[in-house]
């Protein structure tokens, strides 16, 4: 942390299909490697199932699927970001997660109007550090329970 003055936000950076996304560190409980996921039937397509996270059964969603990107095979790099929103704990599957950065609140700009159709709904803002563009995700919208219900209706398989 060089000159910690303006650093009011700590972000965890993760990758999804060559793009970089970020989530505030206070919304993250931990980052895990992918382990055995138990499928939960009759749930939305992006809900991959539940895992045993140190004795707590934790639901896991695929962020690729949530953002309507094509699914990818899990690799050694694949990580599960355990995110916390109010009293919910949900794991987000991402391609990789390996960076923590500090940004100032001012450096976050509102999302540009045209960023691809679906995922735009989940974007809170963007921030640029040097040449990297990071998309700040809106966890509240990602974990919106209403959408869980709608999705399960259509994707009931």
């Amino acid at each position: 942390m060089t000159e910690a003055a303006a650093a009011d936000l700590k972000l965890i950076v993760f990758q999804l299909k060559n793009k970089e996304y970020a989530i505030p560190v206070n919304q993250v409980r931990s980052i895990e490697k992918v382990q055995h996921i138990t499928r939960v039937p009759r749930t939305a397509g992006f809900v991959k199932g539940v895992i045993n996270l140190r004795g707590v059964v934790t639901p896991i969603i695929s962020l690729r699927s949530r953002f309507n990107l094509e699914e990818a095979e899990y690799t050694d790099q694949t990580r599960v970001i355990i995110s916390v929103l109010e009293d919910m704990e949900v794991g987000l599957i991402v391609d990789s997660a390996n960076d923590v950065i500090d940004v100032s609140a001012e450096s976050i700009e509102p999302p540009p109007e045209v960023v691809g159709a679906e995922e735009a709904d989940f974007i809170k803002g963007v921030t640029k550090i040097e040449k990297r563009l990071m998309i700040l995700i809106d966890l509240e919208k990602v974990l919106n329970p209403d959408e869980l219900a709608i999705q399960s209706g259509t994707e009931g398989m």
Binding site: R42, V50, G55, V56, V57, D87, M88, E89, P145
Partner: protein, 676 residues
Amino acid sequence: MEMNQYLEVFIEESKEHLQACNEQLLELEKKPEDIKIVNEIFRSAHTLKGMSATMGYEDLANLTHQMENVLDAIRNQKIKVNAEILDVVFLAVDDLEAMVHSIAEGGDGKRDVSEAVAKLKLIEMGQNPAQAEAKAETAVAMAEPSAAVKSTYDEFEWTVIQQSREQGFEIYEISVALREDCLLKAARVYMIFEVLEKMGEVIKATPSVDQLEEEQFDQEFSITIVTQESREDVQQKLLKVSEVEKADVVPLSLDDLRQQEPEKEEEVRTPSAGSIVAETLSNEGKKAPAAKQASNKTIRVNIERLDILMNLFEELVIDRGRLEQISREVNNQELHETVEHMSRISGDLQNIILNMRMVPIETVFNRFPRMVRQLARDLNKKINLEIVGAETELDRTVIDEIGDPLVHLIRNALDHGVETPEIRKANGKSEEGSVILKAYHSGNHVFIEIEDDGAGINKEKVISKALKNGIITEQAAAALSDKQAYELIFASGFSTAEKISDVSGRGVGLDVVKNTIESLGGSVSIDSKVGQGSIFSIQLPLTLSIISVMLVEIEEEKFAIPLSSIIETAIIKKGDILSAHNQKVIDFRGKVVPLLSLKEIFNVPSEHQEGEFLSVVIVRKGEKMAGLIVDSFIGQQEVVLKSLGNYLTNVFAISGATILGNGQVALIVDCNALIK
């Protein structure tokens, strides 16, 4: 002052003291002469007063103070206990409970207590019907002027007194009063004791020394000492301690004490014939264990911490499983032994952790004597409530839920079950109806029974009512067995009492009872004999956190089916499957049971074709059955029930999850959702 950190303790302790007040008041109602009980109540009220004043809840403190005055008057035999006085005290306790409740809910604990205070004041001044009589009695009691022995002595103290007397010591009972403006009461107490201990030996103090040191007294207290000094000397020395207003030294003669002795025994032994409305027989039997309990040391632990402990422990169990596997592979004798030892210890640990979550059902039962007393009065009935097995333990989560259903059932028994004294007399029964509340363990379940000796359930009446309300059809009604007919009273929109009373409502109660109990994984049944009474029997699982399941496999996935809903497992031939209305069914022991494929319901990715034989788990919901087709049975296991978290709620046909020995999660099938 920042009080938040004490608030929780305050609320918990207040509740305990109020509960103690309630219990002791009921006891007092049975034995109005027993001063010991009054002392108990006084002590609780006094502590409550002190605590609430410290916490700044003035209304609470005011009311307790007033109540304390009345109790003090009773204690000093200025007032005699009667039903009216007890009613007012009960009223005051109600107010106190309401205030504590309000504080617990985050309120300010304010409440208009003027009515209760005024009534208590009236009593304190002796303005009640029994007043004249009471005065006469006190006069008799006071007949021996100086010999009014204030303290009572137990056997040990009595022996000490006797022996000292034989050795030529004098025994004095000293009443010390401090000045009203005395600031450091505890310091004065200390000085007084120092003076006394120089002269002789203090054998008794009322209130106790501990309480005195904590300033838990008003202005006066009494001490009994054994000394060789003269009466005047003792008095002079005491008065030298500053801020001591008065020190009455009364020599105790053995006669005084002897007189007291038989009197005391009488108090203990004669169960008085006072106006008994609601009586808890268990109290009699409870006395001994209650005394023992007092010496048990306990601490309060937040239930969340226990949950965390449980979670950590489960982690340990999973690792234990892995270790066992590794040790088998490595085949090292020392490793074997260590792992085995660890397994045994963790097994013991598991028992302890599970037991920690168990709470005696007493915590729910102990509010019922009070409720029954009040209801019996409101309904003008005479009812004796008997509680059996209050020490039966249940998981905390079940305890929290079971209170309301029980209240409903008891109200129901009182209102619809037990008849009025006139009717009972006419039917040749004793005027006093009896309601027995019984809890006991059996296997992995706890049974709670509510039995009354009232009118019982009239089958014809129930059926005609159900027909009228459109709950069943005439055809169905004809085929009903007695039990099935009784079950109808659990249907929603059913009320058999001719009049709707405020006590047991409009028939919305009992179906709620049934739903609550079933949601806890339990069941409720009724047995009844016309004219002799009814028994409502509730069956509950011992704990909600650990259940027995049957693990089954479907392709690669494992599911757990609760044993409580399984009737049996079967292997059937494909050729035996019949078809009715597009529904596969089988003939199972003479019954037509629909078949469901879990593979289809749970959309399990399928690779194999079904073989010639199918494994079927026959499950039930109430009277209805269904057969679930699975790939194979793994076996029976005790598992820890876990929720899927707050994100995945309302997953179809899944009631929760559990963690298996290999660390993976298995889902628990909700059979109730599969059977319509």
